[in-house]
Amino acid sequence: MYDSNLVIGGKEFSSRLIVGTGKYSSTEVMKQAHEESGAQMVTVALRRVSLPTGESILDFIDTSRYTLLPNTAGCYTADEAIRTAYLAREAGLGDLVKLEVIGDSRTLFPDVQGLLEATKTLAKDGFVVMPYTNDDPVMAKRLEDAGAAVVMPLGAPIGSGLGIRNPYNIKIILETVSVPVIVDAGVGTASDAAIAMELGCDGVLMNTAIAAARDPAAMARAMKLAVEAGRLAFKSGRMPKKLYATASSPLEGVPDWTT
């Protein structure tokens, strides 16, 4: 009613929250959280089949409702990430890829050089590339130029829950690129998601903030509301900040109580 849809790779999404499928205490808890989040896109990893094979994560994700976003988590070179994207496509997961090329195992910060290289290759080959990058506006622009469909700067390290550490850089990224900007990683609680959206981001992607909450389904709902509230606040145009008070009741007509 108030907003347009988020468009990624020609597909429209009314929800601006993308959620993960990892770290849940059970697949049933994950399913409930997905339901409450209102998300229409969920990210999955690609891993070796363990033998004998048990249940599949996809037994618990209704693919007619959720668009699958395969990620290249755990890849440390452009080559590994590119091969993983091709594996995902061959597995029938489509052309979307949450592209991660990790540069350091302690911080999981991206290797932007490898990321740029992989983005170029995959975009040329028809992938809808969604790169996880740092909060650097220059790199965001390079990724856009390389064919990224969106850019996904981190708010803080993956799984840290530290929130949006550099809102000013995110703001500059929003002014620098014309593709959608989705904050990926760092969100810890609802206000973090709201801050990202109030800045003008097009969406937020999170996993741990929901999965590691004491009540993941309730937190998923909180995140859905926060993303919606933040978006709506951004679209509404907030009032300017002022240092001193301005009365919001009329100054005229105040009764006189002096004796």
């Binding site: 999955v44 996809l58 995902a88």
Partner: protein
């Protein structure tokens, strides 16, 4: 012949194809992808591609994950 499947050594009849290996392992086919020696094997080639001594086979499918 000896091959490596998902990092583990495995002995197979000579001439075993990718299709044969998947059947032997009883792997569900939905959302499955296979790579042999780093190259991705299209589904259309499973039946024809014979594995060779020393081949490294990766069989993957989606798992829970965020980033």
């Amino acid at each position: 012949m000896n091959v490596t499947v998902n990092g583990k050594p495995m002995e197979l009849e000579p001439g075993t194809t990718v299709e044969g290996l998947l059947t032997l392992l009883g792997v569900p086919r939905q959302y499955l992808a296979v790579a042999v020696n780093r190259d991705i094997t299209p589904k259309s080639e499973y039946a024809a591609l014979k594995l060779a001594e020393g081949d490294r086979v990766e069989i993957v499918r989606p798992m829970g994950g965020g980033a």
